[in-house]
Amino acid sequence: MLAPLQDTAIAPPRWLHIALPQLAIDLVERLHVQGAHVVVDGPVQRATIYAANAAALAAGVQPGMRLAAAQALTALIVHRRNPQAETQALEHLAAYAYGFTSRVAVDTGLTLEIGASMRLFGGFDALHDALGRGFIAQGFRAVFGYGDSPSAARLRAVAMRDRFAPLGPIPLNASPLDPRVIATLAATGVHTHGELARLPKSGVARRFGQRVVDYLSRLQGELPEALTLFRPPDRYYAWLELPAPCANTEALAFPIQRMLADLAAQLTARDGGVERFTLRFALEKGFTGRGERGTPADSDVVRLDIGLLEASRDAERLFALTRARLDRFTLPRAALGIHLEVARLPAFTPAASDLFDDPSIDKTALKPLLERLSARLGSASLRYPQLVAEHRIEFAQRWDRTPVAPTMAPAKAPRPAWLLPKPVPIRIDDFRLLSNAERIEGGWWDDQDQRRDYYWADVIRTRSGQAVHARAYVFQDLKQRTWFLQGWG
């Protein structure tokens, strides 16, 4: 019974720091599945390995190595470190973490105050698991460090210590102190936080500056920390630079899927959905074919707007819609990168359930289906019938782009099953009239005055001379005395 005692005796920590030591290579691996990849830093001529993936490490590549030396070991796919992308990823993750607690700060990692949210998520373990799963699912390797102060949490995360690990034995090189201070301290035989804490404070302040003393005080929670809290933006913006220029929309699907998954993760965290989003493809310069990479001019951007019928945060659904549009989309030139933008993040509302009355019918299948159809065919291609209180045949119905609940009772007289979009002039000699006339008049009020006699007829001869016996709905225009075909029975 001793081990659990320790857990209950120690109050749950208030602070969580999430370190992302593999961020640079995570960003590469999120887009590439195979091969030995390295991220390099430093001047082009003397590039050194900043980070390497598992395949590269297995081949003997080490961070800090010169690129030329690493390339001698194995075939490498080289990426230049992209601090902008790293910042963007951190902000994305901050927005994701914001779904767990409203107190999030971003520096080289994320600092979260979790004291208040622990109860909400069902205790410390549940919160830890939920956050951990979220980061892994998004392809980020995170190290969690807990503490009673932000500095303590950060130190445990950077040093990869668990939440019970004492801070004293942690080496000073895991601290955010100036490396020169750490080196000087090491020269005097002070290597760990514990050793530093044992030195007289006044002496430390005099020799190494007040900063070092303040750091120790913050670590022990004696000095409050001023954190700049993250505020999630109301619009979403992400930019992805493609590993190589790409004109094939099929090949763009994978990176786009990744970007939409990120968006979906944030929407889940925010408990919101999107109704429309925009993809912009930054293209190569038109003249040279392989232009400079940089901020593209307006004319070098192709835009793809994707709209949904209702707000959604389902990554698969967002991607399926995009996919349908991409299938029939051609890029004029190769794309260098992709922007994903959501101008408005509306509140998420669960799907309405009043579409059908039959409980055996899957109500969730219809909306995505209609979305898929309108995404590919265009919203004008989907039409819903509506009845209009009108005598004139062609005005008694409308096919609208949005469904309307019909309330009108239709006329009793037999009407055609199919209505031609416009009446077609005919020679009445080709038709045999089968019924008496039904006079339909009206329209003086809207300048579409009609006086017509409608008949059911049998077509006996078509223009090609063939005899056909289709049921036709024809009328004679009583003003002009001419005959028209309006529909089929």
Partner: protein, 200 residues
């Protein structure tokens, strides 16, 4: 005699077994339901209506089924018809207009794609799609998409296609508005239809 056979569980009738095997939606035309395997339009399969053009009684043939389906909350989808249906007539025949959808596309390719999407989704529907005479592949795709689902797929083709091979489970020819229906194929019917089955 009939009562004797019907009430004796020991007597097994091949016709019953065949009818049970085909899930179907009654056409509500008594003479037609009596002869069709399963007693109606085959569900989860492709049916074909062959007629020279609109106005051959196709609407009267389909309307009772469409009305019944729509009232059960199934979608009634018209894909790529030569001209749009007339909503007041749909309502007159008891078709719930809030279930009706018209898909108006310029190309048959899009019409097929849309039909496939609807048939393959979990939304039960009656899909009425107009297909070019020569497009065998289109029919195979539709038959495949319909297979095993809860939906009805009905393809409209010109009468000239009657002589070609089709993957449809049921093929009905409309020769004239008042002429009897001609069934030229009905999967599950335990006879080869050397002579087309005429239904008044």
């Amino acid at each position: 005699m009939h009562a004797l056979i019907d009430n004796n569980p020991a007597i097994w009738r091949a016709r019953d077994a065949l009818q049970r095997r085909v899930p179907a939606q009654p056409t509500r035309h008594a003479a037609l339901d009596a002869v069709l395997p399963g007693g109606g339009w085959p569900v989860g399969m492709l049916s074909e209506i062959l007629a020279p053009q609109l106005g051959f009684g196709e609407f009267a043939l389909l309307a009772p089924m469409l009305a019944e389906r729509s009232r059960q909350g199934h979608r009634v989808v018209f894909v790529h018809p030569p001209c749009p249906p007339y909503a007041p007539t749909l309502a007159q025949h008891g078709i719930a207009l809030d279930q009706v959808l018209l898909i108006d596309v310029a190309q048959e390719r899009d019409a097929l794609w849309a039909s496939e999407q609807i048939l393959a989704s979990r939304t039960p529907a009656a899909v009425l799609v107009w297909v070019d005479a020569a497009n065998e592949r289109a029919l195979r795709r539709l038959a495949l998409a319909a297979e095993g689902g809860q939906s009805l797929a009905i393809a409209f083709r010109p009468l000239s296609a009657a002589s070609t091979i089709s993957p449809a489970a049921l093929r009905v020819c409309l020769d004239a508005p008042d002429a009897p229906l001609r069934i030229i194929k009905a999967r599950g019917l335990n006879c080869t239809l050397a002579q087309p089955l005429l239904v008044p």
